[in-house]
Each structure stands twice: as structure tokens, then as C-alpha cells.
Amino acid sequence: MEFIYYFGEVFTPISFGLLLIGTIGGLILGATPGLSPTMAVALLIPFTFHLEAAQGLILLGAAYTSTVAGGAVSAILLKIPGAPANIATTLDGHTMAQKGRGAEALQLSFLASLVGGVFGVFLLIFLSPLLSKAALAFGPSELFWIAILGVTIIGSLDSNSVVKGLLSGCIGMWLATIGFDDIMGAQRFIFHSSLGGGINIIAALIGLFAIPQVISMFAKGRVEVDAEVIQIEKHSIFDAIRELTRRTRALSIGTAVGSIIGLIPGVGGQIAGLVAYDQSKKFSKESHKFGTGHSEGIIAAESANNAMVGPSLVPLLTLSIPGSPTAAVLLGGLLIHGIFPGSDLFDNNPDVAWTFIDSMLIGQILMCIFGLYIASFAARVSRVPQSVMAAVVLGLALFGSYSVQHSIGDVYVMATLGIGMYFLERFGFSAAPLVLGLILGPIAEANFIQGSMIANATDGRLAYFFTGNLNLLLVAIVILSIGYSAWMEISSRSDTKNEGTTS
């Protein structure tokens, strides 16, 4: 119950002000198609340098929570999901809006997000200390395997191709080795003077998530946003609450599915929303109404994509393994303040950890309140032409990456990685495993070197890294996750082949 002691920290004028800015800004950014929650959080990191660690995290956490929920606004009113996590919301949300029930759809979406989000944060509150205590028993070999596990799980589950996902992870781990070696001080892969200090993680995150979006907007050419914003009619919030309480089955399924998926590293909100929608449809007595503007569809999808936010931070705060690309960006936000998440985070920096978690709880409530009020405005902002959006994001990326260390080299690194990532994505590679590799690479290397030193003095490297129950369990999970993803890939390919033969 330690989290209760830190609630006061969230209500200091600066912290609460930042929470409001993060929530309102996040709702507007989330409603804007093309601006993903990950990119929004990455672009916000430079603004946290001058803040205390807890305050910076409050801003980033609020933006994360509300961008996920804000994506529902454009999904419902424009039929354009603000983020991949809101794809399932368009199925019933927009149909409801077309039938003149836009306000009800928005109210249900934010109320369901609130319930799912609060449940997810409570999971984070109760699971994190337990897992962090268990993590105290981990030595270098276990920490090495956990870092590898983080990259392989996200590499195999987040990509359409297991091999390309793992290759992205490898590229990220290699990029992390650029610069001076920590132990010997030797130069490694410094092909250009900009790389002398290694690759700055914040500049890399901005480049990898923002620049590909900018180039994608360029690739669309001179496109006019022709989607019409559906006007919102008045609707009683109490009626929406009554409707939500009538749909507890969809709400429970969405919340449970989102929470479980959030705990699995690498599986994002997009999957959470779609799986919850599908399961709710299967278990619903009115399954035939799904897709025709049924409230259960919105409730299931939105409760799921917000319920995954809290649990996705459990592996980050306890094991330093980000559960999602956005969590990886949050890790970058922690590292710039000299805070290393892990087993001792709750002992060494309880004020930072608990204030951040508490702010996410309050942020869920603010998100619901403000979401209902600014939905109409946010939908109008989301119609801003892509040309303006691309130019603004490019400008923010340049200034943001420069402001990290006042280094033009970081700007070059940001742009090079961003342009490279755009082309890699076009050929089936994914940014998430690359980022995970970049972030977890140094953790894996430090523990590999430390483990090797212990191994040299004892039974040798093979015995040290491949014996012990925990090591074997982690290796088994690595192999299983790769095997499972490879099997899924092969079976989906043969399904496609069969469909092709039948038709």
C-alpha cells in the first residue's frame, strides 16, 4: 500500500499542471492520424530534461495514457483510427456516430478506457513490487538472458517475419555497441565523428519513430483529408454509465484481455483491441449486432487497449525490459534522469516510481473527463493537412534531438536512423525490436561480460550461462517464443495458400 503515501506528490502545482498538459495534449495528439503514441512520447522527451525525474515521467505517462484513448476520437468521428490500437473501435464506433449516436460512442469509449486503464494501473501497482523482489535473486547470467528474451520476444511477436524481427533486434544490439567500450576503452565501429560518444538513445528513438512517419506522409503526396467530422449530439453521461454497467461482460473481457496482453512483452494495443473485440463477439448474446454500431464492440476494444498500458510497464519497472515500444521510449525518459529501472527501483527511488504510477491512476480519470469535453475539438485538429503535420514533426525531431546534448552529431544520427528505418519498414522490418535491441544491448553486454568473468573463474562460460533452473527456464522461453512465432507464420502462410487454391 506504499503507493498511497505518494499521492500528494501528484497534486503539487507543477506536477498536476504537467499531468493536465500531458493528458490534454495527448488526447489531441492521439486523435491525429499518423501520430502514434510512441512517436508522441518520443517527441516529448526533450521537454522533460529541465524537469525533475518524477515530473518528467508524469508528463510522459499522461501522454502515453491519453494518446491511446484519444485515438478513439478520430476512429469514431472520422473512421480513421488515431493509432493502430484503435482499429477495432472504428468497427462499431463510426457506425454509431453515423446513426447520430456519436456522443454516446465517445462517452462509452472514454468510460471503458477509464475502467480498463484503472484496472491495468492497479495490476501495475500490485505486481511490480512482487516481481521486483523476485528479480533480486537474478545474477548476471539471468539478467543477460532476460535482456535477450526482451529482444527475441518483441522481435518474433511484433513482426510479420520472425527472421526479420530477430534481425532488427540484432541490428539494434549492434548499434548499441558503437562508441567506446566500457571496460577496455577501445573504439568500436566509430565510422564518423558523430558516433564518438555512441548512439544517443533519445535521438535514436526520435529518429526511428518520427522520421519514418514523416516520409510516409511525403509518400502519400498532396492528399486532402476529405473525411467529414460527424457532429456530436448531446447525450446524458448517466445514460452512458447505465449502458456500460449493462455491458459488464464486454467490459470484463476487454479489461482481462488487455491486461494479459499488456504483460506479454512485445504484444501491443492493436492486438489487445482486436482480440478483445473478437472474444466479446464470441461470448455475446447479441453477436449479430457487432459491426452495426453495437456498444459492446466499443467497450471491449477501448477497455482492452487502455488496460494494456499499466501491465506493459511491469516488466519495464521491475526487469528493465520494456513491454511495448512506448514503454521502451519511457525507459529512455528514465535513463536521461539517471534512473535505472530494475529490481531495486522501488527501494532506491520509491518517490519517482510511485509518484509516476499514482499519476497514471489520476491521469486515467482526467483523460476520461477531458476526453468527453474536447473530443469535438480534437477531431477538428485531426483534420490538419498531412503536409503541415509532416513539417511540424520534422521540425520537432530536429530541435528535439539537438537539445539532448546540444550536438549536431545527434541530429545526423537521428536523421540517418530515421531514413534508414523508413526503408527497412518497407521491406518488412520493424522499429520495435530494433529499439529494444538498442536499449537492452548495453544491459545484455554488461551482464555477459560480468558473467564471463565469473565463468572464467569457475566452470566456464557454457556451464555458467546454460545451467541453473532460472537460466534454463529463460532459454526455454526464448526458444518457445521464436518457435511459436515461426509456427504461426508458417501456418498463416499455408492458410493463405489454401485460400488461394480454393478460390
Partner: protein, 151 residues
């Protein structure tokens, strides 16, 4: 065309992998390259696997980049490259950002180019953008950016 682009991209990645592996296994002190050797071995295996699949025409993920998309993005990409790698430092961040912003707006704005109204709109948006960036970075965050020729 699609196969060729897959072969080219996976070939480029495999080449990077081979260079990384070569450096990792030949550079001294070898202790400093212990982890890169481990990573580069896996890197090369996966990269060659991907390259092999592309050569055999079995690369199934990724749509590649179409010629049309490449033509549409080329002007924006060229402006971006000049802006980031040269202009920002040579003429100053704010000046370069203003010019780049205005050019990108002009290139990709669907509004007609033969009306004075749309040009004025673009100029106002650009001025607004510059003002916001200056307030955020110069006044609020106190970031000193290269000013060079102009401010």
C-alpha cells in the same frame, strides 16, 4: 521489380552484417569485441538467410517502395536531407527550419498554388510554426542552437 528491390535491400543488410563481423573478429583488443562477435555472428546468419530468401523470390513481408511513392517522396526527402545535414548548421536552425517548413508546405499542400489566399495561409502557418518553436526551445527550454549566418 519487387524481387529486385528485396534482393538489393537484404543484400545491403547482409553486407553491413559481414563488415560488422569482420571488424568484430579482427580488431584488437579482442576482449572489447567479445559481445560484438556474438551479436555479429547471429546478425550474419539471419542476414544471409534473408538475402537467400530474397534471391529465391521467397521474401513475403514488406511491399517495398513503388516508383510512384518514390517520386512523391523524393522532393520532401531531398529537402529534409539538405535541411538536416547542411542548412540547419550552415544558415542557422531557425532560418533553415522556416525555409524548409515553407517549402514542404508548398510541395505537399493540396490547396491550389495559383491563389494568393493559399500562399498567404502557408506564410501565416510558417510564421506561427517559427514563433512556437522559438518560444518552446529558445525561451522555455533555453536551448542554444547554431545561428551561423542568420538567427
Amino acid at each position: 521489380m519487387n524481387k529486385l528491390t528485396h534482393v538489393f535491400s537484404s543484400g545491403a543488410i547482409a553486407s553491413v552484417g559481414l563488415i560488422v563481423a569482420y571488424i568484430s573478429f579482427t580488431q584488437q583488443p579482442s576482449e572489447a569485441f567479445l559481445f560484438p562477435r556474438l551479436i555479429s555472428t547471429v546478425f550474419v546468419i539471419l542476414a544471409l538467410w534473408t538475402f537467400g530468401k530474397a534471391v529465391l523470390g521467397r521474401s513475403r513481408t514488406g511491399d517495398g517502395v513503388s516508383k510512384e511513392a518514390l517520386l512523391r517522396m523524393a522532393p520532401g526527402l531531398i529537402v529534409t536531407i539538405i535541411y538536416v545535414f547542411w542548412a540547419a548548421k550552415a544558415v542557422g536552425f531557425y532560418t533553415a527550419s522556416t525555409v524548409a517548413f515553407f517549402i514542404l508546405l508548398t510541395l505537399y499542400d493540396p490547396a491550389p498554388h495559383d491563389q494568393a489566399k493559399s500562399w498567404i495561409k502557408r506564410a501565416i502557418i510558417t510564421a506561427g510554426f517559427l514563433a512556437v518553436m522559438y518560444c518552446l526551445f529558445a525561451l522555455l527550454l533555453k536551448v542554444y542552437t547554431p545561428r551561423e549566418i542568420f538567427f
